[in-house]
Amino acid sequence: MASEHVVVNCTINGENQVFLANERDSLLEALRDRIGLTGVKEGCNNGNCGACCVNMDGRIVNSCLVMAAECEGAQIRTVEGLADGDQLSPLQNAFLEQAALQCGICTPGFLVAAEALLEQNPDPTEHEIRYWLAGNLCRCTGYDKIIKAVQQAAGQSVV
């Protein structure tokens, strides 16, 4: 049952990273346990909650459904890469101003997913936002304020 280890070279939040992963590690486990990026969260470990959402080569993925060994050469962006130093991104600010988080455990996944939405669709409708984020579960907010935060970040007027 012994596992092998594998060296992975990739870019995480703009920095070159070389790390040693257990061959059994998912990207989620590698980010959290090997690299220390614990902003990415485990909620279900089978692709049904979105808490582990990261951006991989320009697309959002559930990092629990990616093997670490697959990430050789990949460009990965996590919640830790959203702010520019101490300058929060417009989306991060909108989440704070709209009170779009309560416990905060789903927030990193929502932020990464919503950022990807706004990159490809800068002016989404409410339905488009809800559809895009349907794979990210939040149990605290009823989603209302999360949707409004995304609308605010998109420059839309928020009631």
Binding site: K41, C49, A99, Q102, A134
Partner: protein, 763 residues
């Protein structure tokens, strides 16, 4: 965003505003440290072996192969724990028998539900720990599982506990053992006479499924048993002190030997009050001398941590033609799960509380079944009980041709009424919520279109108080470091700090709250019961008053005047008598703070409160639905939640509690259920098949905060978290009936259930 304060809070400077929460930046950057994020030097990873059977005797457990696996450092079973005394321990939501608490943490002679912990492993990494589980050999003697509350109550049903006898109404115990742990009853008036007065009587039976709190963060627990015999626990919990007390009792340590550090918590809703992993991590750490972190996966969370009770309920209610309710009889049988302790008592107390009904009889039964031990879930017991009572009330209104809100208003509990459970009402917002709902744009609007319907329901939750602590240190920069014992699930750092800021007359941003460990602050009860902003805020108020007094004393000292002549003003200016030249003596909070180090030292304010009172909360919800008759699927078209918050300290987080409660209530109404097969195997133990609402399943949820200040709180606060989960299910049921004329009798009202009740009805 709404930034204007409501009339009720205009008198305040901080209360009623919407500052950015103090912990917000850490939570949008990924810096916040939740329990599973913790790394300690030399830390081991642990996993738990769980029973594949719902009901079985454990014949033997052989851990030798697992222990021999390279990288495994320890394996523990129930027998490795100190023998738990047969006594009660405070669990943060009441008390429980210590032996049962331990047996739920790790099974002794019997497994009582699928997923019941049997052994735990610590290894150098979690992959190895997981491999080791497959090497543990357990021999079981299978027993027949009892999965339905009514089956469990029948004489001759297989018994979960040979030693369990029913606690009867008179306090006696039943002669023979039973799965019914207790029977409780509340009565008022003469029930038979009440029904004799009624022109219309409706009786309905209901069944509801177990449902899970569904917090997105799974359970975790890390322990480090130090060489000096002290034990450090790090965990995502709703109550660090109750964890300390449970773990110290189970490990037979003194409370002073155990320090619990509450990590950030990713949701709880009541489910993160019991201990599950902490005692296992503690024992594994004692055996290995190293820190051990245990985490659950989602399947384990659904299998083995607290759902809320499944129920069988029967309600009979009678009214006169004018809508006056004359009598109500409520029968509640609640599944406790594997060990006694369902929330049937709270459900019984809440079930008819919104209404002043002269003749009532409410019976509750707490029943063990081969399912996970239930834990508190947001207004524990009330969503089920009030689903039953509100549903029958709606049907009565329909039968009598009365507007359901009018009928509620004409029977509403008001100040001076007393419930069947003997709870007297002071100033309450019951009628205010109903009236606000009546006047809402939603209720005033017309609902058009085929297969669409509107429903309304009321909700009640009493809220609780109890112990909270707050320590505030005045810093030289004129700001305050505030130390709290309440873990912050949904913005309570903000709501407590705001009450301190208001009392001191300083800005919310000048208060820096920290949630600290059990050695660093006074005893504080769980974050739950909708008590934290209430009792924590009260502690903050008293802490601030302590600071005000000390600041005034210090100013008197500096000015060399009598203390009685100095006052701390609400504008944060400390004023004394005029000096010899007739100039006013005054100094701002900030200026005096700067002088503290050189004028006698820093000031720390302190408050430890224990409030037995609280402020009841009421809510009125309106929902519009559309039902697809071909598929049985219900779409929520529009939702309005009205709720009395007493005083909304941070309105955005009050709205958030209301919206989140609605989402959970809608989930319970439509799709969330524990689906067992006959063997007691939970077939939907994943977030794929345990269907919580997604962003696409809900509309925007309109909120209307009513503020009827609670006279029993310095700022009029009532708890807000619990009550909004109560009305959704009965409101949705009424809307479905209004849309397609079918009165559902079960939760969830899933597409399958609705199809069975309509198109596929009969055989």
């Amino acid at each position: 965003m709404v930034t204007a304060q409501s009339p009720e809070t205009e008198q305040y400077n901080v209360i009623g505003t919407r500052p950015i929460r103090p912990d917000g930046v850490d939570k949008v950057t990924g810096a916040a440290q939740y329990g599973a994020d913790l790394q300690l030097p030399g830390m081991l990873a642990g996993r738990v072996l769980r029973s594949p059977h719902a009901h079985a005797n454990i014949k033997s457990i052989d851990t030798s192969k697992a222990e021999a696996l390279d990288g495994v450092l320890a394996v523990v079973v129930n027998a490795d724990f100190p023998r738990a005394a047969d006594k009660d321990v405070d669990t943060g939501e009441g008390s429980a028998n210590l032996k049962w608490v331990l047996d739920n943490v790790i099974a002794s002679d019997k497994v009582l539900y699928k997923g019941h912990a049997v052994a735990a492993v610590a290894a150098t990494d979690h992959h190895i720990a997981e491999d080791a589980l497959e090497l543990i050999e357990v021999e079981y003697d299978l027993l027949t599982p009892v999965l339905d509350v009514r089956d469990a109550m029948v004489d001759g049903s297989p018994l979960l506990h040979d030693s369990l006898h029913t606690s009867e109404l008179d306090g006696s115990k039943s002669d023979s053992p039973s799965n019914t742990a207790s029977h409780l009853q509340f009565t008022k008036g003469e029930i038979d006479a009440g029904f004799d007065e009624a022109d219309v009587v409706i009786e309905r039976e209901f069944e509801t499924s177990m449902a899970h709190q569904g917090y997105i963060e799974t359970h975790n627990g890390t322990a480090y048993w130090r060489a000096d015999g002290t034990l450090d626990i790090y965990t995502s919990t709703q109550g660090a002190f109750p964890v300390r007390d449970q773990v110290s009792a189970l490990m037979q340590l003194s409370q002073s030997q155990v320090k619990v550090t509450p990590m950030e918590i990713g949701g709880g809703f009541g489910g993160k009050i019991p201990v599950y992993l902490e005692p296992l991590a503690a024992l594994l750490s004692q055996k290995t001398g190293r820190p051990v972190k245990l985490t659950m996966n989602r399947e384990e969370v659904l299998l083995a941590t607290g759902p809320t009770s499944g129920t069988y309920m029967r309600v009979r209610m009678g009214a006169k033609r004018d809508g006056t309710i004359t009598a109500a009889e409520v029968h509640l049988a609640f599944e406790a799960g594997a060990y006694p302790g369902s929330p049937v008592g709270a459900g019984a107390m809440c079930s008819l509380a919104p209404y002043d009904i002269p003749n009532q009889k409410i019976d509750g039964y707490d029943v063990v079944v081969n399912k996970p031990k239930t834990a508190a879930y947001r207004a524990p017991g009330a969503p089920q009980a009030e689903f039953a009572t509100e549903s029958v009330l709606n049907e009565l209104a329909e039968e009598l041709g009365l507007d359901p809100l009018e009928m509620r208003l004409s029977n509403a509990s008001v100040e001076g009424n007393t419930t069947a459970a003997g709870m007297p009402f002071g100033v309450i917002g019951n009628v205010d919520c109903m009236t606000a709902a009546q006047q809402s744009p939603h209720w005033q609007s017309e609902l058009e279109g085929p297969d669409r319907g509107r429903g309304v329901a009321q909700g009640f939750w009493f809220n609780i108080g109890f112990e909270s602590s707050a320590y505030g240190q005045v810093n030289g920069d004129g700001q305050v470091s505030l130390v709290l014992g309440s873990t912050d699930i949904g913005g309570t750092r903000a709501s407590i700090a705001m009450q301190l800021a208001e009392t001191l007359g300083i800005a919310a941003e000048d208060v820096h709250p920290q949630v600290v460990d059990t050695a660093s602050v006074g005893f504080t009860q769980v974050t739950g019961g909708s008590r934290t902003t209430f009792a924590g805020g009260w502690a903050a108020y008293e802490c601030a008053m302590d600071i005000r007094n000390q600041m005034a004393q210090r100013a008197a000292q500096i000015w060399e005047v009598d203390e009685d002549t100095v006052e701390y003003g609400d504008d944060a200016i400390i004023r004394g008598p005029a000096d010899e030249d007739g100039n006013p003596r005054e100094i701002s909070f900030k200026d005096l703070a700067a002088q503290l180090p050189t004028s006698g030292g820093h000031i720390v304010g302190r408050a430890d409160v224990n409030k037995t009172s609280s402020g009841p909360a009421f809510a009125t919800h309106i929902v519009d639905v559309e039902v697809d008759r071909d598929t049985g699927k219900v779409e929520i078209l529009r939702y309005t939640a009205v709720q009395d918050a007493g005083t909304a300290i941070h309105p955005a987080y009050v709205e958030g509690q209301m919206q989140g409660g609605v989402a959970q209530g809608v989930g319970m109404a439509l799709n969330e259920e524990y689906y067992y097969d006959e063997s007691g195997d939970l077939k939907n133990a994943s977030l794929l098949d345990y269907r919580m609402p997604t962003a696409l399943d809900l509309p925007m949820i309109e909120t209307n905060i009513v503020e009827v200040p609670n006279p029993g709180h310095p700022y009029g606060v009532r708890g807000v978290g619990e009550v909004p989960i109560i009305p959704p299910a009965p409101a949705v049921r009424a809307a479905i009936a209004n849309a397609i004329g079918v009165h559902m009798t079960e939760l969830p009202m899933s597409p399958r259930a609705i199809l069975e009740a309509t198109t596929l009805g009969g055989d």
